[in-house]
Symmetry: T
Subunit: 157 residues, 12 copies
Amino acid sequence: MAPEKNNPSILLLNGPNLNLLGRREPAVYGSATLAEAEERAEKAALQAGLQLECCQSNHEGTLIDCIHEAMDNHCGIVINPGAYTHTSIALRDALQSVDLPAVEVHLSNIHAREEFRRQSLLAAVCVGQVCGFGVAGYELAIRALAEHIKKRGSPGN
Amino acid sequence: MAPEKNNPSILLLNGPNLNLLGRREPAVYGSATLAEAEERAEKAALQAGLQLECCQSNHEGTLIDCIHEAMDNHCGIVINPGAYTHTSIALRDALQSVDLPAVEVHLSNIHAREEFRRQSLLAAVCVGQVCGFGVAGYELAIRALAEHIKKRGSPGN
Amino acid sequence: MAPEKNNPSILLLNGPNLNLLGRREPAVYGSATLAEAEERAEKAALQAGLQLECCQSNHEGTLIDCIHEAMDNHCGIVINPGAYTHTSIALRDALQSVDLPAVEVHLSNIHAREEFRRQSLLAAVCVGQVCGFGVAGYELAIRALAEHIKKRGSPGN
Amino acid sequence: MAPEKNNPSILLLNGPNLNLLGRREPAVYGSATLAEAEERAEKAALQAGLQLECCQSNHEGTLIDCIHEAMDNHCGIVINPGAYTHTSIALRDALQSVDLPAVEVHLSNIHAREEFRRQSLLAAVCVGQVCGFGVAGYELAIRALAEHIKKRGSPGN
Amino acid sequence: MAPEKNNPSILLLNGPNLNLLGRREPAVYGSATLAEAEERAEKAALQAGLQLECCQSNHEGTLIDCIHEAMDNHCGIVINPGAYTHTSIALRDALQSVDLPAVEVHLSNIHAREEFRRQSLLAAVCVGQVCGFGVAGYELAIRALAEHIKKRGSPGN
Amino acid sequence: MAPEKNNPSILLLNGPNLNLLGRREPAVYGSATLAEAEERAEKAALQAGLQLECCQSNHEGTLIDCIHEAMDNHCGIVINPGAYTHTSIALRDALQSVDLPAVEVHLSNIHAREEFRRQSLLAAVCVGQVCGFGVAGYELAIRALAEHIKKRGSPGN
Amino acid sequence: MAPEKNNPSILLLNGPNLNLLGRREPAVYGSATLAEAEERAEKAALQAGLQLECCQSNHEGTLIDCIHEAMDNHCGIVINPGAYTHTSIALRDALQSVDLPAVEVHLSNIHAREEFRRQSLLAAVCVGQVCGFGVAGYELAIRALAEHIKKRGSPGN
Amino acid sequence: MAPEKNNPSILLLNGPNLNLLGRREPAVYGSATLAEAEERAEKAALQAGLQLECCQSNHEGTLIDCIHEAMDNHCGIVINPGAYTHTSIALRDALQSVDLPAVEVHLSNIHAREEFRRQSLLAAVCVGQVCGFGVAGYELAIRALAEHIKKRGSPGN
Amino acid sequence: MAPEKNNPSILLLNGPNLNLLGRREPAVYGSATLAEAEERAEKAALQAGLQLECCQSNHEGTLIDCIHEAMDNHCGIVINPGAYTHTSIALRDALQSVDLPAVEVHLSNIHAREEFRRQSLLAAVCVGQVCGFGVAGYELAIRALAEHIKKRGSPGN
Amino acid sequence: MAPEKNNPSILLLNGPNLNLLGRREPAVYGSATLAEAEERAEKAALQAGLQLECCQSNHEGTLIDCIHEAMDNHCGIVINPGAYTHTSIALRDALQSVDLPAVEVHLSNIHAREEFRRQSLLAAVCVGQVCGFGVAGYELAIRALAEHIKKRGSPGN
Amino acid sequence: MAPEKNNPSILLLNGPNLNLLGRREPAVYGSATLAEAEERAEKAALQAGLQLECCQSNHEGTLIDCIHEAMDNHCGIVINPGAYTHTSIALRDALQSVDLPAVEVHLSNIHAREEFRRQSLLAAVCVGQVCGFGVAGYELAIRALAEHIKKRGSPGN
Amino acid sequence: MAPEKNNPSILLLNGPNLNLLGRREPAVYGSATLAEAEERAEKAALQAGLQLECCQSNHEGTLIDCIHEAMDNHCGIVINPGAYTHTSIALRDALQSVDLPAVEVHLSNIHAREEFRRQSLLAAVCVGQVCGFGVAGYELAIRALAEHIKKRGSPGN
């Protein structure tokens, strides 16, 4: 029996340096801390009928571990991979290994930044991408993921 | 007097081949026609307190004309540039010339497709990008644009 | 009822600058005008049991419109995309959207010219390519397309 | 008889987004509108003993049409291709097809801007290039074209 | 006396792995063997008033030898260079050394395949190219070559 | 005294996502778990007169730590670096720092996959590479390493 | 009747310059000649219940011929393509044409050598690759191929 | 109150494999261990009126954590990122997030080594770089950082 | 007192090989010598209310020296850097160091020539560029520079 | 007898545009002139027990001459090659020809600037590099060079 | 006993298409046939006290065989590899395998031709290269090789 | 009257660092000084019925000046451009400007060295190239140039 597979919960995963959100460069990223952003995300998830578990780490290996564990506990992933977006094939393989729909979020519009930030190694294994809208992007991504899951079946029923 | 500048209306612009939406390859893009997608988008706009004008053309020049006209009639643009995303510097210049916030939408996750579809020449002049969520992407983009406009001022008041 | 789908007619589409055929640089391209080339092509089509409709435009958007309209009126396309061969992803998407076999023709041997003329963005969605034989290439392409259509079914019966 | 070939008239062709000249970003491009710029250009032409016809379009196809028509009406072309400078092989082919001397103008110094603006696909078929001097560039280009035509023969006599 | 120079005979040269035609992957390449394809090609040649000699080898050096010998025996070459298309500068030099018109044929549409199959080192020294039409391509190539030879003079008379 | 240097033991190191072996995509990688694969590898090692210690981690830093510790405990390393193969110069430096022979293993034939998987940053500091044979590759690698060590001296005697 | 198809025999194919094995640079490649290496390989094959036929040629065409002939006589191929590894698309096509499993061997670790030796054009059509272990690599490759064949069916029974 | 912000202390951060310093390849890197190098660095810091805290880790995530923590405890960073120099955008982002001056040190002259070691992803967010002088580089870097801090204000007063 | 700063004089600087002007390849560059070209340029300068000092050197270092000296004697520079256009970062730095407006001239249309002549390392620090008009280009450049200076202030008054 | 070889004197060589130091852009480079910077450098040299000779030239050839002459007069070189860093293979060869240790200095952090400034052609023949610390870099470089010379022997004794 | 090793004989090897020398394009390559060129070469060899054996083949494999056989019969090789210069790693490996000095000759100046002809894969294993002097190049190469051999020892004594 | 044009004298031009010949690295370049090499070259010239003038400079500009002066004094140039081979378009333009045949010499085999030494910017304007034979290369080059001049006419008669 694997009832947790049906548990309509999703994982919100934040990568390196996102723990500093709200503390540094508030003029750029707003004054909301990661905790506050996660709180807003949680509300958006609930509105969409989903639970939300949040996790942040600066360690690539820890992010991979979290994705592996999501297999048994969640029905989808919203991930802001931070700088690992552009360098981590291991994260991409992790997402591909667990058979869960994932949505990629970036606070800034990475496609309007330095050349090396315009390529996402994870995009190939994600449903879609939301970028450029600051912390509001988490809410859009959760909404998009919820709709995607609904179309694919009825998780949690 | 330029009261229309305060008119809380936005433009939804669709580029080449999007007129065929819903008619071709329904297994991929769903069975909704462009008209139906625009109708859904209009509802999302209204929910966000905005009017929506829709326009589609296969002609790069016509899309540029539309963007120019938006200066006097709209306070923001949601654009799905279709294949011109990857080839049109002229569209980019048009968006940059008119001083309106723009959000880029793609039905498919362009970053997970052929190499030549992963680069957007327009991204550099857009607020953000939403891709991979089919026609639901229009609603997310409108919502994101609405929130962006709200933060920048109070259009339409 | 969609009897025109079974109508054994094909579209001959010519892109930018081909309207000048026969008028400029006759030493290179021969003295036949586009009209005369289309006439010869029409005879080759009739020999192969097919009707032929001809269209030329310097406008990328108009060429896309023509391809879209071919869906309801033709069972195949012979296209000389001119310079758009190398720059138009939108034309490629148009050909891919309408589910008709297409054959690419070039008057000159584009693979023996400047580097930037050796790549065809449309090749990936075409049955095959004929290049280097001047206006005779249209006749070869029509013959090749006719044989291809015959193998796939019996259009027009 | 082709007396118009001897008609000492030249064409001033402006590409996409140049219709906004003087209206947007006056701090950058000055407050002169396209109409005023064309008026100044006309005076410079007259000083050089040439008539001037002006044309602007955001449509690549329309620009090609204009170049074709210039064959019968003009003895040279001054062209500011805007963003099509960097993407349009079709415009290049059009200029090459009509056997008229052409001079390329850019308001800004394109060689000092983004990498993708430093390449001109049209340069290979133009007499020369003037860039970086704002609307004064049109006058310099007309003067240069006039001198070039004079050296090649005596148009208009 | 070199009467064979006037002999209206052409050479059909097939490169590596084409001896397996019809035997392997019949679903892809059809069930016709190389012998049968050569027979069809011979008929097309006769229809065009030309004799046809056929040759196949997996050895690059043997193909070069054949091309050299064609100087004295043939008035044109139809060549399917197989994989040597993309790697053999020596074959290109051989074609350039003998002053005979050559037409390049490929069974598949090489421009729609892997990146490394899209470049032909031989194209630069060929009249033209036919690809994507299976063994029917040989007939089209022979017809095109015949027409090309006719334009250049009256071989065999 | 450094008797452990002579201890004929080798290290089998598995990188990111390999902990999921046997659990995900059994059709591709077989149904053997990592534990079972390690057991088979151990038998192969014993047959070759070597002890085997196994280690797996998703953390690049932990893998580096393991390699450092191997200096004092092992006389060779078999490593499947997973996705770090293509991105980790740090792992390469670690292997180079400890003066132990290393053999690289990949379950799939990485040279037949996506472009970015065809380059191994570690190859330059390894004795050799075995790839494409699934978990059997571990046995081949151990055998190869054992033979390599034998040639270099008599470990464990 | 094609009983030889069931004959559990494999082909060991060596490419250019490998005939010099053991004679030149013995410090690098060991003092074993090609004949001795083939003898060892034969023993490894017999241990795995397979017969072994050996072939070496400096001629690309001869290697292709050998691969073609293997279709009727062998159930698998071990190939050391020497320098053709990096340049021969024709060998790749030959391996792909005959439907036999192939394993690629290299005496040296090609991925640790000059840039141009790190790419194998054949890898895409091989089961796997063994490199860096000198002539011992032949034995590992034969063992790997034998195991691969066993999994796919029971050749020779 | 954040008096530690004024505490004239700096962080010396060493990345992957630098824990092996002095133990491996003493001919290359000298016989000084990391501990001894840190001791020398500490003396140089004291001479410059600064305290020094030392930290080494093979884990990218741990290095990021250390940089984050430096915000509250140090007024500058000397970092030898080891192999992460060339691959870690996350470390770059970490340095950019905390608003502290950083100096990059490399024991070897990375610009005289393999191509892939000549690019530093961190350079863009550092004050300067010292490389090629072995452990003496730490002393130079500390001296340079001290002078830089002095110019920017009076830390620790 | 630095009255010469207000001296409305400009420097015309010619780089390597331009001393041969008029002597070699008169069919290409015309029969005017450098002296004559400088004379014409001087007249154009006087017409624009400016004095002109001319300098030519084949030595990169001498050209840099001249630019440095211009700081105290001129209010602008017209420079034809010859082949140093494409290779000299030092000239670029020299122009950037002295805070004078500079206009780049090329006799030929460098953008229509060999690939390596299409890039100007100096463009980034120049007001604009004139190329393709032979020695007439000097007059156009002087005129453009004069107008530029006028807009920026009133030199010499 | 070559006593000057033992003379503990070093050469400080400054390349193009560095003569302007302190005069231009003082906000960026400080107000110290080259003379003052050389004076500070001399003091640092004396502290390290070395004499210092200073030389600056905008001429690549003169810099090469200076390096050649250093063979007989100095035991090491500190060089700020200015823009020649990125373009001069001749300077590199000069440094390599004379068998003296050299240290490269750059006032700015060249690795944090334009792409074309990030490569040093001289690095491959230098002991190390110091960059980003303004004129203080000269002192650090002299100190590093002094320590390097001390380790290699006892110059001047 | 291997007296032939001391036999002062060298091999002149000509690659693909060189058998046509003198027969085709005499205006370019002169009217001398390969036989005549070899005769001249033989005279030059005799003058230098060397015997000369000549060999030409269009087959890469035959050229490799010839090089292998040279081990026992010659003390040096002059090779004009024709088009294989640019594509054959196998020829390079052959030259490297036999331990004989080799000199590369090209009739034309390959460095002044198409991009793909400017790279020689064989250069890395040759003493030197002579190109651009037509058949006279053979004589120069023989002379250079003779002098090289003399310096290395006294072949043939 | 330009009798010196008929003067059978040639110029031997040596570029940067070649003044050190024979003094540095005698094991590599031999112990002959530049003076001795020039003496040998002079003898070879005399044997070929030519006078020889020698010139060496480390200054690019001086080398250009020398080439310009050769127009009036010499009938050909042998040039060893040293490191300027790879960086100087100005030298190339100088050679092209003076209409004299030039032969390029390099002491080492530049095509067997670092990537950046394999490209000669001068090759495109030279008759041919000799490299890899040390100072003997000068003699070969003079002989080749003499033969080239003889074929083109009878200088000096």
